[in-house]
Symmetry: C2
Subunit: 219 residues, 2 copies
Amino acid sequence: MREVFQQSLADVQDRLIEIAELVAEAMAKATQSFGTSDVALAEEVIENDPVIDEKTVALDELAIDILARQQPVASDLRVVVSALRISASLERMGDIAEHIAQLTRMRFPDRAIPKGLKGTFTKMGELDVELANKLAELLRTRDVALADEIRNADDKLDELHVSVFEKVLSDSWRGEAAATVDATLASRYLERFGDHAVSVSKKIVYLATGDWVPVADDA
Amino acid sequence: MREVFQQSLADVQDRLIEIAELVAEAMAKATQSFGTSDVALAEEVIENDPVIDEKTVALDELAIDILARQQPVASDLRVVVSALRISASLERMGDIAEHIAQLTRMRFPDRAIPKGLKGTFTKMGELDVELANKLAELLRTRDVALADEIRNADDKLDELHVSVFEKVLSDSWRGEAAATVDATLASRYLERFGDHAVSVSKKIVYLATGDWVPVADDA
């Protein structure tokens, strides 16, 4: 029974890695489309989001099946519940990549990135992709040092998010209302993606160390 | 054993109702503070959010304890997993109420609601409070007709959300960048609260009818 459980957990882990990689790819394409007004690439991200959704639903069904058939208790049970929570966060991260792609499509053929913020948003996009890739790596290697790197990258993301508002609210800002709306929404999405990544990384650390993390941690 | 399980579920339900009522109260105060620039009321919402967080964590621990001790299977198991998901969404709805209160505090003593949008935001706030109250009622009564009412209220919320952007992007918009940022964020928060409410209502309907809802439904 123990071996069956370990094999089931390995299956759960493989699926989480696959979903994290899909999210990283979606965010890479979404932020590239946002930076270059590449509407075809944006469409691709939007069309592919249901794949991430389906894979998270399938993973949840697997986790529920493991709970039903193998009736894990104690830390084994918490590992399976963690997987359900990680899956929900990854699904939301995929949605955020889709929202960025939708901003690109909405403004096309105009640029979605407001003037004067190109460097900031490029950096934020790179950080988000880095975070998602590190999550996949953390899932794969259980190297908890990666969780610190994820937290540090999220701190940089938060600073850049604040700097977007400083720019938009400064006297030098010449953007139209549309540019202000886009900057506000994009910055919020990119920052929120980082919050989810930190939340997921804490849960993966639990899988590696057994330190249970309460759910209310991604405010 | 069956009786013990039913008693445990009744406990879970009571706690979900309590949390939903706290969320409704938080949103009522948050939107009132936002409309009247009542910074003391906003502070109250911000100070009380940890209470909602703690109660959702305690509920999750109870659900995990039920899984461990009573080892439910089939639909009983899905009911407990649903409770975990509902709890996570309610916690996020509490966070959103806090975000609205933070907007109020950030702009104080100025008004956070931009000129020309007072009526729209008042209506959106009322709809959000109505949604949260209906969720508590749905949890209490299992009257699935309430889920339709929640969906209808969310549709109205979505229309108002779109109307905020139409207003902000119209030629008649005279708001400064700060007003545009506030309108964008507040509208996004109020609309997102509705998405969570619909997502929760679907899961409560499952508790009442046994129709399982996949998790990827609040995009």
